[in-house]
Amino acid sequence: MTVSINEVSASPGFGHDLPPHTLRDMLRYMMLARALDERMWVLNRAGKAPFVISCQGHEAAQVGAAFALSRGKDFILPYYRGLATVLVMGMTPTEVMLGLFARATDPSSGGRQMPAHYGCRRLKIVTQSSPVGTQIAHAAGIGLAEKIKGGDAVAWVSFGEGTTSQGDFHEALNLAAVHRLPVIFQCENNEYAISVHQRQQMAVASVADRGPAYGIPGISVDGTDVLAVYEVTRRAVERARRGDGPTLIEARVVRMTAHSSDDNDRTYRPPHEIALVRHQDPIVRFVAQLREHGILSEAEEREMRAEVAAIVNQATEEAERAPMPEPETLYDHVYAPPRQRR
């Protein structure tokens, strides 16, 4: 099978026929993710949150993709930068903050995992760990189960470009390709795996170049363009639901922060690059696009920012008030209890 690598850029009809309110919704989620993320850093520097890992700069890639998926039906396996993804898929800002503060009612783990290890069975957000790439194999397995069952849900999994060096990336793409499984592999390429640049991670120019090696489409898309990501994901979802198999999408994004709150990217990133990244902000870009097309007025933008700020304040307060896990719950859920035989 020969597969060409498509470069998807600005489309002829703005917004891919999405209604204006949906476009504004997309922006609202991007702003919400950013505001929550920024608040987490403030809380970290104030000594209230021991660890933060960011999605700043990835919002368009995540929101664009998530809007092409079906909430509550499709399985989502986001990696630790997936804040905007899980917000779109239904996790509330308060729930996100409960995770940051490691509270008992944190839906991802009840305060057991580091923040940003998202999971929620009700929302089909699959629990994540810290060893990178393991979730890619799970996504292939979810797709395999779907094929066995004859269902039409898809599994959408995200990871950074550094993770593509892991064996699980290769094994999972190969399996999904062999069985034409309904899986969408989204690599959010921000060019850095902590401090190591993409050049030292791979010899190909684009992660998407690897798709054809597995016999599947590899698509590279500007991951700071929310509508471009939406469109390539929508096509990948259609393809997957049709039974035509998986797609590898590389969303080229920017990392606007250090790797995590414990990192200092000034030790390895040139100053001009850090400055440049600030000018590639996907939210600034989308606001300008919407403004240009008369979909968002200045007043509406102001209102949206105020609304988002209020949500973040409320989420922070609610989560901070929530109780810590009781020490005696340490032994809970080591093993699942036996269940009724069907």
Binding site: G119, T127, H138, A145, G167, E171, Y335
Partner: protein, 327 residues
């Protein structure tokens, strides 16, 4: 009640589980048309088709990883790792993922997964087709580790493992596959995961084993009986969870304990059993807690002379029983 070997009992268990529940499927190398390199899944491909008996790519990590994903999408996968010696690439998926998913999600997600693993030596498998891997995995909370040694137990434990909502490592000793025969009832039954089984009651010493070594211990116990020593042989059957009650009750009666496994001694499973006995039955002991295991060399060599030197034997076990009985 038909008599069959251990391999046939496992195959029958797989067959019945697949017939009873459409969510059960098998995923592993050569499990399809070939029926597995040991022929455990023989006939199942023809009966259930290529979507339920699936030949995987030659990649252990995704064999387990994909089965974890399938388990989280409401299936009951049975992964086959062709030889225990090849399980290392899947260690991350088994230990970091399968074993921790229920705990790390605070009980939200479950991984009902069985990983079938042929293990053990004495079959001219050399370094990389003879290994015992139970100690690596029995260390991990969140995993269950099952080591049947008879056809009856193998089939009953397999069904329990498939119905268990947790990941279960199901270790099948390769040499017992065709060597060990036994009666298996025609009616549906389960052997619960957890309880050990007293395979031979005795008065003078307690011996704990599993897999092939259980049979060597029974043979040695027979020899000792002729010498007037009454040996109790307990089949641990499940290493995790471990039936400490049965272990301690036996030692408290006999006052003497010997643990036998084929895996090498240092850091082996016998150390855990010995520690439990030392901690909780110390005042009942009339002799040292003894262990027999494989030698601390990297793995089992190919040459017959070296393989024989590696394997604990009924004779070496009988000798240890005599030493212990003499206290």
């Amino acid at each position: 009640m038909p008599e069959m070997n251990l391999l046939e009992a496992i195959r029958q268990g797989l067959d019945e589980a697949m017939a009873a529940d459409a969510r059960v499927f098998i995923f592993g190398e050569d499990v399809g048309k070939r029926g597995g390199v040991f022929r455990v899944t023989e006939g199942l491909y023809d009966k259930y088709g290529p979507m339920r008996v699936i030949d995987s790519p030659l990649a252990e990590s995704v064999i387990v990883g994909a089965c974890i994903g399938a388990a989280m999408n409401d299936m009951l996968p049975i992964a086959e790792i062709q030889f225990a010696d090849f399980i290392a690439p899947a260690f991350n998926q088994i230990v970091q993922e399968a074993a921790r998913i229920h705990y790390r999600s605070n009980g939200d997600w479950e991984v009902p997964l069985v990983i079938r693993v042929p293990y053990g030596g004495g079959i001219h498998g050399a370094l990389y087709h003879s290994q015992s891997v139970e100690a690596f995995f029995a260390h991990v909370p969140g995993l269950k580790v099952v080591t049947p040694s008879t056809p009856y137990d193998a089939k009953g434990l397999l069904k329990s493992a498939i119905e268990d909502p947790n990941p279960v490592l199901f270790l099948e000793h390769k040499k017992t596959y065709r060597l060990i025969k036994g009666f298996v009832p025609e009616e549906d039954y389960r052997v619960p995961i957890g309880p050990a089984d007293i395979k031979r009651p005795g008065e003078d010493i307690s011996v704990f084993a599993y897999g092939l070594m259980l049979h060597y211990c029974l043979e040695a116990a027979q020899t000792l009986a002729a010498e007037g020593v009454s040996v109790e042989v307990i089949d641990l059957r499940t290493l995790r969870p471990l039936d400490t009650e049965t272990i301690l009750a036996s030692v408290r009666r006999t006052g003497k304990a010997l643990i036998v496994h084929e895996d090498n001694l240092f850091g082996g499973f016998g150390g855990e059993v010995a520690a439990i006995i030392a901690e909780h039955a110390f005042e009942y002991l009339d002799g040292p807690v003894m262990r027999i295991g494989g030698p601390d060399v990297p793995a089992m060599p190919f040459a017959h002379s070296l393989e024989a030197a590696f394997m604990p034997s009924p004779a070496s076990i009988a000798a240890a029983m005599r030493r212990l009985a003499a206290y």
